[in-house]
Symmetry: C2
Subunit: 110 residues, 2 copies
DNA sequence: AAGTTATATATGCTGGCAGTTATATTAGCG
DNA sequence: CGCTAATATAACTGCCAGCATATATAACTT
C-alpha cells in the first residue's frame, strides 16, 4: 500500500480528485474527461480507493465515486511546520499562535 | 524536471527536508542520519535543489544545505479546497470566510 | 437466456527512479 | 606538489508504476 503522498503525487489522480470536488461521478464520466483508457482510470480509482480517498456507490451497472478528503489531512499536517517559512516572516509568530489556539479548540470540541 | 508533489512524495526526501527544518546541514551529516550511501543522498539533494527546495552554501570542502520552503506553497494551494472537507462541517463556512479575508489582507500587504 | 452496458481484473510492455560501486572534482593540508 | 577529505557525477542494475489490449464480471434489457 502506498502513502497518501505517493498516491497524490500522480497528476492524473490529482485530476480525478479535483473532478470529484464538484460531486460524485461515474467511471465513464471520468474516462470521458481524462484522455485515457477505461482500465487505466479504473486502476487509478483502485489506488485512490485503497488510500481511502474515494469510495464507490453502486447505481445499476455504474459505480459512482465520491471523494473522501480525510487522508489528505496527513499531508496537511506534514506541511504544517513549513507553512510559516514561506509566509511573511513578521506575522509568522502570530499565525503560529493562532494555529495553536485552533488546535486547542479542536481538541475541546472532540 | 519533477513537480514539487513528486519530489516530496519520496520518503527519504521528506526526511531530508524535516532534518533541514532545524537548520542547515552538511551532506555528511545527512548521510550519517539517513542509513544510506553518500551518492544516494547527493542524488536526492540534486532533485531537491532542482525543485528549489534546498540551496547549498560552500564551507571549505563541505556544502551546507539550507531549506527553502517556498515551492511547498503550491502543494498547500492544491490542498486548499479539500481542507474544509475534512474539517468539521459546521464551522467550515466560517473558516472559509476567514481564509478569504486572510487572502485579501495578504494581497493588500503586497 | 442472450445480448448489451459498465466496470474491474489480467497480462505484457516500457520507462524511469532509487539504490549501489566506481570515479571525477574541488578544497584544504603538510 | 602529493595526500586526504568532502561531495558530485557516471555507469550499471533491479524494480515498480503506469499505460494499452484483451478478457472477466456484474447488472440491466428484451
Amino acid at each position: 500500500m502506498q502513502s497518501t503522498f505517493e498516491v497524490v503525487a500522480e497528476p492524473t489522480r490529482r485530476r480525478i480528485l479535483d473532478l470529484l470536488l464538484t460531486g460524485e461521478r461515474a467511471v465513464g464520466d471520468l474516462v470521458a474527461e481524462l484522455a485515457m483508457s477505461q482500465p487505466a482510470v479504473s486502476r487509478h480509482l483502485r489506488v485512490l480507493r485503497d488510500a481511502g480517498l474515494v469510495a464507490p456507490r453502486t447505481d445499476a451497472q455504474r459505480r459512482l465515486y465520491r471523494l473522501d478528503a480525510r487522508p489528505l489531512a496527513a499531508v496537511d499536517e506534514w506541511l504544517e511546520p513549513y507553512r510559516r517559512l514561506w509566509a511573511g516572516r513578521l506575522d509568522s509568530l502570530a499565525q503560529h499562535l493562532d494555529e495553536m489556539t485552533d488546535d486547542l479548540e479542536r481538541k475541546d470540541a472532540r
